[in-house]
Each structure stands twice: as C-alpha cells, then as structure tokens.
C-alpha cells in the first residue's frame, strides 16, 4: 500500500514501510528501544510523566481519558502497583490494536515499559485477546527477543532498572475489554465488571492494588513522545485532540483499512473519500450512514461528513470517536438489520450482572428481529425507545448509567440513532411484512 508523505505517521511509521516491522532486527535498526534508553538514562519518572501530560495523549481504547491525568490518579507510595495493557480489542468495527500487536509488537513493549517506568510499576501484564493467535505469537516472540537482548527483565540495558512483562492469553469475551472486567479476568475469574467507585483501577485495581490500564494504541505512542517530546505531539491536531490516531475504516468503502490520521485536521469526509484513504463508496452507491467510533457509538449521517475527527466535535453531535472504528454503510443497507446486528451483539455479550442490560438488550433484540422479519407492529417503535430509555435514561450521549458498566447503555445507541432517523423505513417493515431490502 502506498501512503502520501503528507499524512503524519507515529505508530504506523514502520508498519507502513516494512514487511518485517515485527522483528527485533528491524525495530532496533529503526531506532527501537532508544526511547526507553533515553528515559532510563536521562529522565526521572516524573519527567516522563510530564512529557505525556504535555502531549495531551488521550486514551485510544474508547473513553478518551488523558493518559497523563490517569497516571496522576495513582495514590503516592502505594506498592506493589501494576500496568495492564488492554489488548482485548473486540469493539465491532475495530481492528487497529491487532495490527499494532501483529506488525509492531516491540513498539508496544517499549511503550509499556516506558509507562511502567513513569508510574514506578512493579510488573506489566499484557492482556491480548484470545482469538488473535498471530498477535499472541508475535507479541510472545517479541518478548522472547527483547528479553534475550536485555530490553526487558533484570537490569535493563545496564541501567539498574528492572521490569518484567507478562503476556496473558485471553479466552473470548467482549466484556473483558472493560477495564475492571479485564482485571477480574486477569485474576483468573469471570469477567464481571466491578462497580466504580470504589474500584477505579488507579486506586483499587489488580489484587486491589493501584493499577494503570491503558490501551495498546495509547501505549504505542509513548516511544515517539519520549523521543520527540510531548510538545511535538501536542503540535499536531488541535484543541483537546492532539497527535494522530488510527481510524479503522470498514464497510462500503473502496479501500477499507487502518489509517493513521492527524486528529482535528482531518474530517470524516477525508477519511471516507480521500483517494489515499477510503477512496469513496464501493460500487458508488450513496452513503446512508456511518458509525464514527465503534458499535457503541451513536451513528452519523451524510450531513455530518464535514465534521472534524476530534473528540469534542463528535461530542457536540451526541456521539464519540470511541475506539476509532468507522463503519460506512451505503443505501443498500437496511437500517433495521444494522441496528439488530449491533443490539444482538450487546445482548450476546452482556455479562448478566445488571437487569436493565441483561433483560433490556434481549428485549430490544427480539423486537428488532420481529420488525425485520415481518411480525412487527407500529407500537414497537415507541416500545424500542421506551425500553432503551429504561437502560439509558433520557437517551443522551454519553449515557446516564443505570448499570455497573457502560455496555448496557451502549446497546441503546443504534436505536436512538435509527428509530427517529429512519422512522419511515421502520414503518415500511411493519406495513409490508418485513424487510424491503430482501436480505
């Protein structure tokens, strides 16, 4: 794939240029682990933390919380404390972390080590989604090689600083991606989210010890930030959306894929239509809607194409950039079926602890399915909104939470997006006894 030079490149820097970007030879030849050396030999943990604060790097896992601020929430002088890397990527539409783990695992390991140094962690755990066998093997091999060259382990590069990185195999459950569920899972239990407060990971995380959970992409930015300085990162983008981020683009576009774009200075139109990015609609069927930030995010429509890819701009439209997944759907897509697919996902993945989520998602799925297959009633449209309102009171975004974690309220997103916007299409389903799109 060819990329225009004008598009900035931080975390995709090597992936773009080399087929062997996953090897230690390539990584070291490209200056790998030099950022770690710089941090360990010429910076205090506080100075590293300060650079990350200056960069205004925000979490790329979904919630968008500034990483430097999160690290600042650790209670001082409480040890042991841990860094947990969230590599459970399973938000529908998202496939960027997998690529980062498969194609540049050393960048992630180096980023995790830098984080561990900055927060004075005792140990790093790298939780990788179970269904990603290649990522498991690539990250595993990266660790083997990094230990062999003393980039990980005892007395790293002779600096006197020691750190272990433990790769952990997941086993298939979307809810593990939620940080407190991830911690439970890492303790060998079912992945039931914990209630916050009191279980904010920074205060009471793994084994109820202070814990920093960060996403794969978030941490992959750290080597660059240490090398080039937080200010250089903050100089890209604008507002509170600094630096670059990866957008996972899929659906009805000519060139689906992961694209590293400059935040704030790129619009959704650029992402979907630029010849070097999505290159426009597949089969040239017009755009009907797009999901701007993973299946949890409320949808956007053609009139929103000129919106900047910027967290605050998305929030103004009542949605989010979330996990950076953009799913593009053309006019051939049935909005009822699309909503059903996403609600079905959340119903399937609900951990079952909270009644509004467990029961509500199941009801929503059934109602959508009967509309799609021709047994729907006109009252079902209001029923959908009513049930949604019981899971996500007031149907706003970000949702008011009635549940332990945000999974339940997220299931209402496709309903609050599609029912008002495509009311006529829903009614056609009801009146004509099923989906007019065929299948």
């Amino acid at each position: 794939m060819t990329f225009p030079a004008s598009v900035p490149s931080i975390v995709h820097n090597r992936i773009r240029r080399f087929d062997d970007s996953h090897t230690i030879e390539r990584y070291v030849a490209e200056g790998g682990y030099e950022a770690l050396r710089k941090a360990l030999t010429s910076m205090t943990p506080e100075q590293v933390h300060e650079e990350v604060k200056t960069s205004n790097l925000t979490g790329r896992g979904g919630a968008g919380f500034p990483a430097g601020n999160k690290w600042g929430l650790l209670p001082p002088d409480v040890f042991p404390r841990y860094v947990v890397v969230n590599g459970d990527e399973s938000e529908p539409g998202t496939f960027k972390d997998r690529e980062l783990m498969e194609r540049d695992p050393h960048q992630l390991v180096e980023g995790a080590l830098i984080c561990a140094y900055a927060v004075r962690a005792t140990r790093v755990f790298l939780y990788v989604r179970g269904e990603m066998a290649l990522a498991q093997e690539r990250v595993g091999q990266a660790l083997v090689d990094a230990y062999a060259r003393n980039f990980v382990g005892n007395d790293i590069m002779g600096t006197g600083w020691s750190m272990d990185v433990v790769l952990h195999w997941g086993a298939g459950a979307y809810i593990v991606g939620e940080e407190t569920a991830l911690i439970e899972s890492l303790e060998g239990k079912r992945a039931f989210p914990r209630i916050k407060p009191p279980f904010f990971p920074a205060a009471k995380g793994l084994y109820y010890k202070p814990t920093i959970v960060n996403n794969v992409e978030t941490l992959s930015n750290l080597p660059w930030i240490v090398t080039n300085g937080g200010a250089a990162f903050a100089a890209m983008g604008g507002g509170r959306s600094t630096g670059t981020r990866i957008e996972s683009l899929s659906g009805h576009v000519k060139r689906p894929g992961n694209y590293e774009i400059e935040q704030h200075n790129t619009t959704f139109r650029d992402l979907i239509f630029d010849p070097a990015l999505g290159a426009g609609m597949r089969s040239d069927v017009p755009l009907k809607m797009f999901i701007p930030g993973g299946a949890s995010a409320p949808w956007l429509f053609p009139e929103h194409l000129d919106t900047k890819i910027d967290g605050d701009e998305a929030a103004k439209l009542g949605t989010m950039l979330g996990s950076g997944a953009v799913v593009v759907m053309d006019e051939s897509t049935c909005s009822v079926r699309a909503a059903w697919n996403i609600v079905h996902f959340f119903a399937h993945e609900s951990c079952g602890q909270c009644t509004p989520c467990r029961e509500g998602t199941t009801w929503l799925e059934r109602i959508l399915w009967r509309i799609e297959t021709g047994s729907g009633r006109e009252e079902d449209l209001d029923l959908l909104l009513d049930v949604s309102d019981n899971i996500s009171v007031g149907l706003g975004w970000p949702p008011k939470q009635t549940t332990i974690c945000p999974l339940g309220p997220s299931a209402a997103s496709p309903i609050l997006s599609s029912v008002p916007h495509f009311r006529d299409e829903y009614l056609v389903h009801v009146k004509e006894g099923g989906c007019p799109h065929g299948r």
Binding site: P80, G93, H168, W169
Partner: protein, 194 residues
C-alpha cells in the same frame, strides 16, 4: 479422561510463577489443557483445581464464562465465520449459509469425521477484510465462497498445517521466564484492602 501430562504440569507451573497470585494463571492454564485434549475434560479441570488449590467449581465457573473454552469434543479445525456488522453488510450471512452447505452441518455443529466445527462469531477485529473467518483463530480475510471451499479442502489435505495447528493450540511460542520477584500478594491481603 486424561489429566495433564507431566510436561503440561510443568508448563502450568511456569505460568503460575509469572503472577503475584497463581490463580491469575487459570485462563492460560485452561488453554494448555485445551491444547492437550482439543477440549476441556472434567478430569483435566479437576487437575487444574488441584494445582491451584481452588475448587473444581471455581475452575468450571471461569472456564464456562469464556467462549473459546469448549467442554464438548470439538473438530480438529474450529471454523469461525464472522457475523459482525462490517462483515454482515458485505455478505457474512450468505457466507455462513455457504459454509453450512459445504461442511454439511449447521453452525454450532461438528462434522461426523471430527474434522470441522462451525461457529458463527462476533467481530473478529478484521473488519477491513470483510467478510472473513478464522480456522483455529488464524485469519482468512476478503473471502469469496470459492476461497472458503479451497481453504476447507486445504485444511483437510493438511497443506496449511504450518499456519493452522490443531484446535486448542493458541500460541506456539514458549514465553520467557520472569526475572524479577513477583512480590506475592496473598488472598488474605487482598481481602484486607477490599
């Protein structure tokens, strides 16, 4: 039904040594067991419970939560076709029907010769390559119906053995030993801080 072999007990002990609490190794240990037998037997899970000094019910409680763990005999190849949103709008449902026809089974079932189990999966994080499927969690992207049939034939013929090990083998990399003190955190200590 078999317990873990001595070699796999050693692998499990190495896993347990990596965590401040051995129980944290339970999910990786279940993968070791599943690699050994292709699925999780009750005897095997009892053996894990002994190693970790927890009850068999606790092991089962964890195992049953996660979709990759199979308590029933599973085909040599677990074929998981993605039905997530990006794949659905690019023909996933048709691909699943086609897979059912090719394999002669419904999603959820195993072929009579024990070669293939077919599953409908949620998003596999390969949406840019929709529609897609996995064989034992190894990816096949942008697949046509013909591609699917060819892959099944190749798996049957054993020509993909290097890429796709038998069901249960998640990673073939032997992970490095930790070098620093794990600083054990006892369950009692956890209870006090909670």
């Amino acid at each position: 039904m078999p317990r873990l072999t001595a070699e796999n007990v050693a692998r499990c002990e190495a896993l347990m040594a990596r965590y401040p609490q051995p129980r944290s190794a339970l999910i990786p240990m279940l993968h070791v067991l599943q690699e050994q037998d292709g699925h999780l037997s009750n005897d095997g899970m009892r053996h894990l419970a002994e190693l970790l000094d927890v009850t068999p019910a606790e092991v089962l409680g964890t195992a049953s939560f996660y979709e990759m763990f199979k308590r029933d005999e599973t085909g040599r190849y677990l074929i998981g076709v993605c039905a997530g949103i990006s794949c659905m709008i690019l023909g996933a449902h048709q691909l699943i029907e086609h897979a059912e026809e090719t394999l002669g089974i419904r999603a959820g079932a195993t072929t009579a010769d024990g070669m293939f189990t077919l599953e409908r999966m949620e998003c596999l994080a390969a949406c840019g390559g929709a529609p897609c499927f996995q064989a034992n969690y190894r990816y096949f992207e942008n697949v046509t119906h013909e591609d699917f049939d060819r892959t099944i034939a190749d798996l049957r013929a054993g020509v993909l053995d290097d890429i796709v090990p038998p069901h249960g083998t998640l990673s073939r990399v032997v992970l490095p030993k930790a070098q620093t003190d794990p600083q054990r955190v006892t369950p009692e200590e956890v209870r006090q801080t909670s």
